[in-house]
Symmetry: C2
């Protein structure tokens, strides 16, 4: 193929809308680099790392090969930039850099959330009521109920806030009204009346309520379109990064109230931002859907979380009835109800139920292993007919906690680390392409994997001090490896990885691995019987599967069995808003899953101890690496 020199074609990169001209046959990766568009590549453009994925929005590309791209993704236009050459004008979308608000590097390998039929949990019906006469002077509400019955809504409960406004609203536009109904409960609830036809002013605000971060979207009910998306730190972090500190804080007299206000404040900030960016009227937000872990849900509802951390670990509620947003301090109209995705157990929340529903695991004939890796690793194993779940405490390692220079996956974090020569210079990638400030969870996996593969780290997690490597040195916590020296860091100080860091990392990855193993053993399922491994969570989406298996975080299974669901919690909340059926499925999911408690489980302890090596005590569990060093 001849590379032409004249820049005859236009290439537009979304979402930043950067437009450049390129010649026929030019590689899209090179065009992107030239244009300053960030694209991840770890193989240097050889087409083997599958990192430089892009999505064709318009036009075509001449594509050499598509290693690591599923058939589904290929069909919808996902390509490797390094293997694609321009043959005409083209518009492509690139994943944004990894920050809290980003799509992930694995975004194009994600399982798409089941596209729901648009049947939102909150319905808006435009109705023309018969005008009363002296011969038909039934009460306004009776008149309305009759018409609602014709639309299939019987025995409707009516909110008192609606009752008060009935006569005025019905008469304002000559008996043309719009009724809003919450349909997620056993009896439909009439939550709002407006005069005229307002059915197109109908949005949902959906949230993933995380311990660290809260992510939200505003979605149009009539089209399913995402109008805005925002992320913010959970303001409760003032009272502790981890969940246990927050539960402890609730023992103070004002504790629950303070934490409740902080979480509703966080939601309010997100709503304000999204309303501003989308230009919609916040009065048109008809309902809120929230998926969160059990502690976050109880704190949002101002329910004492203390019993969640004490044996026998009992949540207060499984399925929360819809609550007025205003009662939770959320700044939305009194017609707006909050729907909370049901929780399973104290340690497995609505975020997991939402994720399972979003990836369709509850309808799958295959055996799926769903893993959400975070401070708590939540694991679900099962298929349509059965599911078991557990959670294991991985600690804050993956969010940068307990690591000397650990940090969240935000700008300045080392997110990738390669070491072609054990004693040579590493190649590192930093989020935001700025000077490094620390290392994030995915960077940690990649660094430990590279150091282990290179032989600098032993299976026991100790550095091999016999190798003459200038970056390996003795520090205050034993040996340490200099990931980036002070000349290139934002603080001017070296960024190191210590043996204590590695030890903490190994404990964390061991907890996740042992959790998966114990759960599979509990139902007598062998690794080979698992059809798919679904990695959930924003952090999960940053993970390089090969390297995560290498360190023993994930089981050593065929790489094509791995799938990503991305932020399953947010996707599930999104889907629940748009689909009454999914919302009802979530109740069934929460009901059918059997929880297994690991904290008092001996098998788990044995599995955990066996996992405290790289990748594991029993190398037969990691056949891919049996012939490699380590």
């Amino acid at each position: 193929m001849t590379v032409k020199q004249d820049n005859q074609y236009q290439v537009r990169f979304l979402p930043d809308n950067i437009v450049v001209r390129a010649g026929k046959g030019e590689s899209l990766l090179k065009i992107a680099l030239k244009a300053g568009v960030h694209l991840t590549t770890t193989c240097g453009g050889s087409g083997t790392c599958s990192s430089c994925r892009i999505l064709i929005i318009k036009g075509n590309l001449d594509c050499k090969h598509s290693y690591g791209i599923t058939e589904y993704d290929f069909k919808r236009g996902v390509r490797l930039a390094c293997q694609s050459c321009v043959t005409g004008d083209v518009v492509v979308e690139v994943p944004k850099t990894t920050d809290l608000a980003s799509t992930s590097i694995n975004a194009f390998r994600e399982i798409p959330a089941a596209l729901p039929l648009l049947n939102p949990i909150t319905r808006k019906l435009a109705l023309q009521l018969p005008v009363p006469t002296i011969g038909d002077n039934r009460a306004d509400l009776k008149r309305l109920k009759h018409v609602l019955k014709n639309h299939g809504y019987e025995n409707v409960l009516v909110d008192y806030d609606v009752v008060k406004q009935i006569p005025g609203i019905m008469r304002e536009k000559n008996w043309s009204i719009t009724a809003t109904l919450c349909t997620s409960t056993n009896v439909p609830l009439l939550s709002r009346l407006e005069s005229g036809d307002t059915t197109t002013n109908h949005y949902g605000a959906v949230f993933d309520l995380g311990t660290t971060a809260v992510r939200g979207r505003i979605i149009a009910a009539d089209s399913g379109q995402v109008m805005a998306e925002e992320t913010a730190y959970n303001r409760q972090r003032e009272y502790g990064e981890d969940i246990i500190s927050r539960i402890s804080y609730c023992r103070r007299p004002e504790g629950i109230e303070v934490l409740q206000k902080l979480i509703s404040d966080t939601l309010n900030v997100l709503i304000e931002k999204m309303v501003l960016s989308s230009g919609i009227d916040d009065g048109d937000i008809s309902s809120v859907v929230i998926a969160g872990n059990t502690v976050m849900v109880q704190l949002l509802l101002a329910i004492d979380p203390e019993p969640l951390r004490l044996s026998p670990y009992v949540p207060a509620i499984d399925n929360t009835p819809p609550v007025k947003a205003s009662e939770l301090g959320i700044n939305l109209g009194r017609h707006c109800y909050v729907h909370i995705i049901p929780v399973i157990a104290s340690y497995v929340g609505g975020d997991i139920v939402a994720g399972i529903a979003a990836c369709g695991m509850h309808e799958s004939d295959k055996v799926n292993l769903y893993i959400d890796i975070g401070t708590n690793g939540e694991i679900v194993l099962g298929k349509k007919e059965w599911m078991v779940t557990t959670a294991c405490s991985a600690g804050p390692t993956f969010e940068g906690g307990g690591i000397r220079h650990g940090m969240l996956a935000v700008a300045g974090a080392i997110e990738d680390f390669e070491l072609p020569d054990p004693c040579g210079e590493p190649s590192i990638r930093i989020i935001g392409d700025i000077n490094p400030a620390g290392i994030c969870g995915s960077g940690l996996i990649n660094a430990v994997s590279a150091l282990f593969t290179s032989g600098l780290l032993g299976r026991n997690g100790k550095f091999n001090s016999e190798l003459s490597c200038s970056r390996l040195r003795k520090g205050t916590d034993g040996f340490e490896y200099v990931l980036a020296d002070g000349s290139s860091t934002s603080s001017g100080k070296d960024i190191v990885l210590t043996e204590v860091d590695v030890d903490n990392f190994i404990r964390s990855k061991a907890a996740i691995y042992a959790g998966c193993q114990t759960l599979a053993d509990s139902v007598g399922i062998g690794t080979h019987e698992i059809d798919n491994i679904i990695i959930a969570g924003t952090f999960g989406s940053q993970i390089n599967i090969e390297k995560a298996v290498r360190v023993g975080l994930l089981p050593d299974m065929a790489r094509d069995k791995f799938r990503f669901v991305g932020n399953g919690s947010l996707k599930g909340a999104h889907t629940a808003f748009l689909s009454l059926k999914t919302c009802q499925d979530m109740l069934k999911i929460a009901d059918m899953i059997t929880g297994i408690e690991l904290s008092e489980n001996e098998a788990f302890m044995d599995n955990y101890v066996s996992s405290l090596f790289l990748p594991h005590t029993d190398l037969n569990r990691f056949p891919s690496f049996l012939n490699q060093r380590g």
Copy 2:
């Protein structure tokens, strides 16, 4: 029978607990007069007026005859005091004097409210939940719902106020709890959780919400016992005695809010008084039941009443969903819900539905005519299979309005008036036995009847000035009759009845009579086909049937067809609290009744004009008086 002189027996008069001694064979009426116990008598002890009724509580009386006492009443111990002689120690109850809080002079002729099976609309269930273990760590709410299901309550809605308190309450007394359920709606609502067994602390506050007065009771749910009863003026009277002024006031921006607050303030005062007098804890009031006319109900709910007074006279709501008392400004716990008896039309409210249910008309095989006489006369005709209703504006006459010296039936009001000799001195009875201050509605009926019977008033309502009667004189409004001269009145001025007063009275009684006639005609029912006439309302209970028929207020039917239901509205609210079935019956009653609008009805106008005479233009309608003068 020999009258013995020694006072060998003890006679105790309730409710004032006055104890006197009496000799064998002494008449109870005389004993009462001697003891200062007020007993009504208009026939002077001849046993024909049936006014001096008493109820035997303990002991026996030797009773000569019992004219006007039904078999039912006789069996439960009602006797005529003038016809009863003591034969041993006895305890009797006398009706209290007629004031707002009193039982009425017809109290012992009242239809008793159907004694409900105790199945209150709000249930309290004492439950022992299984204590959670590591093997059974279901959510607290799931645990509770499972137990509730075993008690027959499925798909329970849970109040957010309950959700918040779940973990603390369940653990406080080792999983022994009491659940309060509102059962009046399609799905039971869990409105409260308490720790331990609190089932005996369970009361209802029930109210008759009248335009003029509000009457309340506190009732024990487990026994049906009335713990307290109080009456107060409706504080909305500051903004007008009549309903139309109040509706008009609502056109002001703050109007609805002001009137809503006044009515909730009225309820709060009553609750405070009743809680004080009964000694119960107001936190133990589990629900409130309110029966009121449609305007009062809408004002309590802060709903614009304007459409109620404009054609086509449409109420906002027929059946109000339960509303939290606190949302209406009622000072009761957030667990306490207000249940409002459904209304039929703008002019026929929940007070009528309550009365019909209380007297069992909806279960009757007989044709009943139910009349509630007040500013508005509400009339219902029908039986088990069908009912029609209407309302006619009688004006404020019966409450003393539009009458020169008119007043409410409170202390100082002339409540009875007899004129044995047309030109002689009348005998009058005054409520409270004090100097007269004016004349109340029942006094007015009795005075007009006596003046008409004596020939001082003509059939056209004009005084016969040719009769030489010192009390008849020319005044500023034409001729007037001096009911009481200044020497005996509280103000020192004469209390008179003018021709204008009589004219207003005739318009009022004509409206009621024409309403009954039009309603009966509308369904082709003749007077002879009506089996019972049920007179409702506190005012109704004061009416002397004979005299009310004489002036043409009530139809001329066999006197034994007349029944009193007393305060049907309060009785109905009372019964609704104690009986879920009655509460459900009320919904059916409101649904089955056909309303007939008189304001645009020509037949009514004709009937009204024909009724503007004493007793009526067509004397054939009043056969009892065909041979009498008039």
